[in-house]
Amino acid sequence: MNTEKNIVYHDSAIKHVSGRSIYINDMDTSSGMLYGKVVYSPHAYAHILSFNLEKARQLKGVHAILSYRDIPGINQMGPVFHDEPCLAEDTVNFIGQAIFLIAAETKEIAAKAEKLIEIDYDVHTPVTTLEEAIARNQLLSTPRIIHRGNADAAMLQAKHVLKGSLKTGAQEHWYLETQTSLCIPDEMNELMVYSSTQNPNETQAIVAEVLGIPRNEVIVEIRRMGGAFGGKETQGNHTAAWAALLAKHCKRPVKIHLFRDDDQIMTGKRHRFISDYEIGFDEDGLITAYKVSLNADAGATADLSMAILERAVLHADNSYFIPNISVIGKAWITNLPSNTAFRGFGGPQGIAVIENAIDKIARFLSKDAVEIRHRNFYGITDRNTTHYEEEVENNRLFTIYDQIIVSSDYFERRNKINEFNSCNEFYKKGMAITPVKFGISFTTAFLNQAGALVNIYQDGTVLVNHGGTEMGQGLHTKMQQIAASELGISPEYIKVNATNTSKVPNASATAASSGSDLNGMAVKNAIDTIKLGLLEIAVLEFNNKNYPNPSLTKDIVFHDNFVFDKHHPDRIIAFKELILKAYFQQKSLSSTGYYKTPNIFFDRESGKGHPFHYYAFGMAVSEVKLDILTGHHEILRADILHDTGKSINEAIDIGQIEGGFVQGIGWCTTEEIKWDTNGKLLNHSPDTYKIPAVRDIPADFRTALLKDAPNYNTIGQSKAVGEPPLMLSFSVWMAIKDAISAVANHKIEPEFSLPATNEVILKSIEKIKLLGC
């Protein structure tokens, strides 16, 4: 595997570049397919007094207009808590909440029908800010609290204490492919659901529930998504449930492909947070106490908010040992679409607070923040347990730091930046290094399981099914490589199938960066089972010549499309031939596989446990140049050193690192989301919502994988890579703050928030200038 790892391209690469990749919106069905449309609330909080669907129903070409009354099963699509109606009943709680469903012969007819629907609302004043939700005590659920030591006492004893509050903004996923589902009714109650979902198992469950049919009547399939980033972990379910209701009702295939603006208006985002903190430290910047209160905007319903909040609480420490710490996480209900999973899953919001606090400490002590960060890193042999009492094993922070500080030429460049700043009034440069330590595993322990089904056919080709979904991250490619490596055959003989609930049931969402870890092990497990039979046949085959020293199964090797005895390389058979022999000798050439992550537990009551299988580490150094008259920034250079264990596919891992980093840069800089006081989303299209474009990436962008860093007890000694690199973008965010701070020669703490748009930057500079005068 390792010799080939750099030349295995994404398994869909050729299809992607030639326009052959089929997404759900590209699927041709038999004639008779109808277009589904969701009619949603224009009010953030209102009671529905009455509605009239008759005029719309009479429009030619309209096949169905459904309200909650037409739902045969239960009117629920909340993933964890059942608090989210599939279609609104008497109350609407956010702009974008689905009320009716239309199925029509064309999109135009559906749009006309929508205009004919009459709804009478009693409109109320919505709660659209976190501050207001907190003031009204609209708590979603029991707070998540983790303590260690005595933060209050330690704070009193601390030499210095700084306080602050940080706002981090929402982020729209902006997957290129909007939410899409195509449902095709089959015989009797059966339904085939094609859904752009990260969680086909849950999509299946929710479709079955709203239709009031058992799960074995519903098959969910997804070949690939056009991006997801967490946005299709639960909210892909919604579109599937709506399309299923229409398809079932009309007895015809129905497709819903959300229009971009509708997608942005209707779906949840990364949770915005307001976090208040207090941090105690000594004259060297060693942190002795940290108290932080993390407040998340859940939106109208729970969705995954509590799990996201939990990860924020578990990541409040980032990479730093804090002896006395108190973390309180609360999620609050507002009249906005329910916020949901987004790459990092609360981790970024928790980490941002301590990174900003450390930066503040450095300015207070007139030191470079790099020094404070380094001083507070988790230790190797001591100071190495987290606030939830998990030991930070195989801590690579110092290894990474030592390498990147040299490779990025940090201190030399720091001097040059100071020099530049001293002789430039209208441009300032800034630089920062930030680390990430990210816990890998679902914090909901039972989700850490996966299944696979591997089929070998008589011609020696292999079809791998597993529970993970492909959203661009290259999971299928890695599974192909793992299967190839385990079977000792070329990847070209292996195909990874579309994810399908009838092949692999009860799979967890492809989320929490866990896709390769979990499914890779399950695929290996399935192959191990098949290989038991193959080994028997191979040995039988080799030993039928009555050698004095017969071959033993333990010595049989699968390599390079052949199977042979490692002690007697002449006893060899082509893989393909062995498969055929196995078939004729009535051996099963198909097996399921299963894996559960060992030793994962977490007690929510005490806030203690071992929620993570291991940690992924990384660090980035970024340098920016600010135009202090306009607030425009330019990222001059970024160096990343990231730990992916023994990488299964370096190119794919680097793609995840760079892509996650740039997505993080977007959140930290230009991706601003605003709602007006009526709860109306102002940035509902790419016209006003700005994700990074090609010129927004670092001008000099250097990414490296940490070398010689095998992981323990994971597939191929690799590490998960999906989410952790996103948080490395804090190096850009902190570099911008450093540049602002340079305006007053680092004497004044700048006002700062996330995203640091040019508006935030310019206003912060104005304040500094006023204070500095």
């Binding site: 030639s18 290129l176 991006g227």
Partner: protein, 485 residues
């Protein structure tokens, strides 16, 4: 009027396609090229990401004749293109790039480099990116990084972080544009020239819509007189959104995009005459030396795909308060040339634009050109744009300054124009008056900034709040001073 035809023709998959809107119920003249392609069984590669020209997932390449009858390859956003706009042109889609040699598929160098450099992850933006790089491949040999990035600003990718895509583009564009399209280029050129010779003004009548595609100015003016309420388009990058985003059916359209007479530059001693249907990309290239302040602002105007469609006439005619060419045109006192069937007139742009998206254009007139006086040697002209994102973003605040100093560093003449600060493009006349005859030095500027800060009352919106606009507006004067001092 020249003979009228009711069909449109274009080349797709190497064959001429004829569309007759009378007899194709599912198509309207305003059906976008994107939706047309996606309705075909073999063209699902082109994707809709936003239907507003802001993501480039729908990018295709159009090969068309320029005014010298040479074939040009341009990347465009197919979501913004009404079908009649491709009349007489060749459309190249992602499916057309590969070749089949026996059983083997041979990828185009652009595609091959995207594979080898890991340029795709989820793949949804990929066909559009491949097409943007393909246009780059046809037009550039060993392009600089800046040129590559410019070719890709209109393509959003949410997965890769762009670096592998830039690498792929750099590695692909090493063939002087030579590929299997080159072999057929002469034939296609000839076909398009022959087609153009007998080309007729087109009137497309659909039950809900009249779409007129005149081939010369005379026909256009006659139609304008006959249908004074018709919406005038050329690149349609603004008007298309009424259809794609609001589902509005515009009942009458006059499309000027096929009129060569409106696509000419003419230089006089004192000025440059720019035809109203010239695209912003053409202008950007043409004026690099003569009007760097215009060229610089066009570099960050939309994206290449947008600039390949959008015209200067459209930017003037839509009279948006954030039209990016307008502060420049105000600052250099450009003149708008108008014409009707009988006569013509010239109006200073400052008078032509008379309110929020309002102009002095009469119901029978068309904008035929804009006359831009050359910048006197003793004048300094600079334009600025402040937006949330550098590229492919609409201005939060834009500005253009024109300054003449005498030998004693005294302001002899200054024009300060802003976009984004009011309902229309405005001059900062109080600030101008204050600066007039003052010494061009920092103290003066700082005093002027205080006036400027209070001169306008901008709005707060999705892009920024009013305070930021005021700060940016004020600071741009300092920036200009800093760059002139």
């Amino acid at each position: 009027m020249t003979t009228v035809s009711d069909k449109i023709c274009f080349i797709l998959d190497n064959e001429w396609v004829e569309l007759d809107f009378m007899h194709t119920a599912s198509l309207r003249p305003v059906t976008t090229l994107l939706n047309f392609l996606r309705s075909l069984p073999n063209h699902k590669g082109v994707k809709e990401g936003c239907a507003e020209g802001d993501c480039g997932a729908c990018t295709v390449v159009v090969a068309e004749l320029n005014t010298n009858n040479q074939l040009e390859y341009k990347a465009i956003d197919s979501c913004l293109v009404f079908l009649p706009m491709i009349h007489g042109k060749q459309i190249i889609c992602v499916e057309n790039l590969e070749q089949h040699i026996g059983k083997e598929i041979q990828l185009h160098p652009v595609q091959q480099m995207m594979v080898e450099n890991n340029g795709s992850q989820c793949g949804y933006c990929t066909p559009g990116i491949v097409m943007s790089i393909f246009a780059l491949f046809k037009n550039h040999q060993l392009p600089e990084k800046e040129v590559i990035e410019d070719a890709l600003t209109g393509n959003l990718c949410r997965c890769t972080g762009y670096k592998p895509i830039i690498d792929a583009a750099a590695k692909a564009c090493i063939h002087n544009g030579k590929d299997h399209f080159s072999e057929k280029q002469d034939i296609i050129t000839k076909q398009l020239i022959d087609f153009k010779k007998e080309n007729k003004t087109i009137i497309l009548k659909h039950t809900e819509q009249l779409y007129m595609l005149p081939q010369n100015l005379k026909d256009a003016l006659a139609l304008r007189k006959q249908y004074p309420k018709a919406v005038i388009i050329s690149g349609a990058t603004d008007t298309a959104l009424r259809q794609t985003k609001k589902g509005e059916i515009i009942d009458q359209i006059i499309d000027l995009s096929q009129i060569d007479e409106l696509k000419r530059f003419e230089n006089t001693d004192k000025s440059m005459l720019v035809g109203s249907s010239l695209t912003l990309e053409k202008i950007k290239t043409e004026v690099q030396k003569s009007f760097p302040a215009l060229s610089n602002i066009l570099k960050i105007f939309g994206s290449l795909q947008i600039r390949n469609l959008a015209t200067i006439g459209g930017n003037i005619g839509s009279a948006s308060p954030i039209g990016d060419t307008l502060p420049f045109l105000f600052a250099c006192k450009a003149l708008v040339k108008l014409q009707n069937a009988d006569t013509h007139r010239t109006i200073p742009i400052e008078d032509f634009i008379c309110g929020y998206r309002k102009t002095m254009l009469a119901a029978d007139e068309l904008i035929v050109a804009v006359e831009i006086p050359f910048i006197p040697k003793d004048a300094i002209l600079k334009s600025y744009k402040v937006s949330k994102r550098k590229d492919l973003d609409i201005s939060t605040v834009s500005a253009c300054f024109s300054l003449k100093l005498n030998n004693d560093h005294i302001v002899n003449d200054i024009i300060i124009v802003y976009g984004g600060m009011a309902a229309q493009i405005v001059r900062a006349k109080q600030t101008e008056a204050f600066l007039y005859r003052k010494n061009w030095e920092r103290n003066t500027i700082e005093a002027a900034m205080k006036i400027l800060y209070n001169e306008f009352t901008p709005i707060s919106d999705a892009r920024s709040d009013a305070e930021f606009r005021k700060l940016a507006c004020r600071n741009l004067l300092m920036k200009f001073w800093n760059e002139t001092d």
